[in-house]
């Protein structure tokens, strides 16, 4: 039997409690998306929360900026195996956006410019674990990284943190999003390496 990768030593960069299995640490901020970067003027930007009964809650850019803002420092884990530590964001907590919304839904589908979607359990958007972020490292979030605003759910693989978000639709059943239909995991916990359907 042939030997496996003889002579490979590796770099063994920073490991430890903060790096989930199969990830390596990067200092860059790689860009991943399925298509071109959209150009979204702020005067046309809108965020819409739709409940399972069809009730809608809307915020334009000005109303959104008037909501209580939070600063978040967090680690990111991308399914393509890079992790980036101590990223700094500013945005509105989903707890704030969901505060006046009556719902029995268990799931949320994030919808975006360019028809990208991703599905998450609604519980994962509560409890100070999810934001709609518009500022990265002290500057307006660049379009290639999801600006004007993206979902930020750092405890799940980063494709769940949908770029260019336009809204969330809540539902009683789980509907698969874009990558999830193409074979990626419905939940995507980096610590359990839930990358694809078979994981």
């Amino acid at each position: 039997m042939a030997t496996l990768t003889p002579g490979f030593h590796g770099h063994r960069r920073t490991r430890g409690d903060r790096l989930p299995p199969g990830q390596f640490r990067t200092e860059d901020f790689p860009v991943l998306s399925a298509g071109p970067t959209p150009d979204i003027p702020l005067d046309r930007w809108e965020f819409t929360l739709t409940t399972e009964s069809g009730e809608q809650h809307r915020w334009n850019w000005e109303q959104f900026q008037a909501l209580p803002q939070q600063d978040v420092t967090t680690d990111l884990h991308c399914v393509t195996r890079w992790s980036k530590f101590d990223t700094r964001w500013r945005g509105v907590s989903l707890d704030t956006l969901l505060a006046d919304v009556t719902t029995d839904a268990r799931y949320a589908l994030a919808e975006c410019y360019g028809d990208y979607t991703t599905n998450l359990p609604l519980d994962d958007l509560r409890g100070g674990r999810a934001w709609i972020a518009h500022t990265y490292d002290g500057a307006p979030l660049a379009a290639e990284h999801g600006g004007p605003a993206r979902l930020l759910v750092p405890h799940l693989y980063f494709w769940k943190s949908a770029k260019w978000i336009t809204g969330l639709t809540l539902g009683r059943t789980d509907r698969r999003g874009f990558w999830e239909q193409l074979g990626y995991h419905d939940y995507g916990d980096p610590w359990r390496e839930q990358r694809t359907w078979t994981d």
Partner: protein
């Protein structure tokens, strides 16, 4: 995670002074579509492992796969694959992966391939699958941005396409630093003119595949959108 397969290195050939194509055989390989990639896992003697993604640069062919690797300076994985990994030894691969950046032979739409540097790898698989089909539909064009003639990968494939002079399958090399003598296009980065091609305009309903380093993909995909291509018809893969 159980689906890692052993892949044995059969041969390695140069694509440029530094880049190499690896010919591997994989136990139980299920086949793949042009555009898909694999995760490659390397294991050191003490169990330390590193994983990176590499595109499949040839269409499915039994248990054989090809990966084309540009060694990154000081990179952890790519210099090992390009230079040190001995013939007859094995790595582990997982895949095929990716269900979006794929071309399914049989689709009628014209296909515009846009490559920056090593981003040509998955597009070469699409181009070869198209040549295997024969005939004059669908039209294919590869716009291949590269630094200089020494960086041109897949020479025999691209030379064969140039010599065939088949209007259905064409390639244009877009040199950014130095071009061969007599090359018609001025040296420089990709522009809208390089992508504004009869038969591949938005009205022709082409599907575009753009692959390469992030900055290149951003630029080329934005050029396509400004030319009027629908964003959902422009599929992108960013290498890092």
């Amino acid at each position: 995670m159980t689906d890692w397969r052993r892949a044995e290195l059969r041969a390695r050939t140069p694509e440029s002074a530094t880049a190499r194509t690896l010919y591997l055989t994989v136990d139980g390989w299920p086949g793949h579509l042009p555009g898909q990639h694999v995760d490659v896992r390397l294991t050191a003697d003490d169990g330390y492992q590193a994983v990176r993604s590499y595109s499949l640069s040839a269409p499915a062919d039994g248990d054989r796969i090809e990966l084309s690797v540009q060694p990154a300076p000081h990179g952890e994985v790519s210099p090992y694959l390009a230079d040190d990994f001995p013939t007859g030894a094995a790595i582990e691969v997982k895949g095929p992966l990716g269900g979006w950046f794929v071309w399914k032979p049989g689709r009628p739409d014209p296909v515009l391939l846009v490559a920056g540097g090593s981003g040509v790898a998955p597009l070469a698989a699409m181009l070869r699958a198209r040549l295997d089909l024969g005939g004059d539909v669908p039209p294919f064009h590869l716009a291949y941005s590269l630094r200089d003639p020494g960086q041109r990968w897949f020479g025999p494939l691209l030379d064969g396409i140039a010599e065939a002079e088949d209007p259905a399958v064409t390639v244009a090399c877009l040199y950014t630093r130095a071009a061969p003598p007599g090359h018609p296009r001025p040296v420089g980065r990709i522009t809208a003119a390089d992508l504004d091609l009869p038969g591949f305009r938005p009205a022709d309903g082409p599907l575009a595949f753009v692959c390469g380093p992030t900055a290149f993909v951003e630029r080329a995909a934005n050029l396509l959108v400004h030319l009027g291509h629908r964003p959902d018809r422009v599929r992108t893969e960013r290498f890092g």
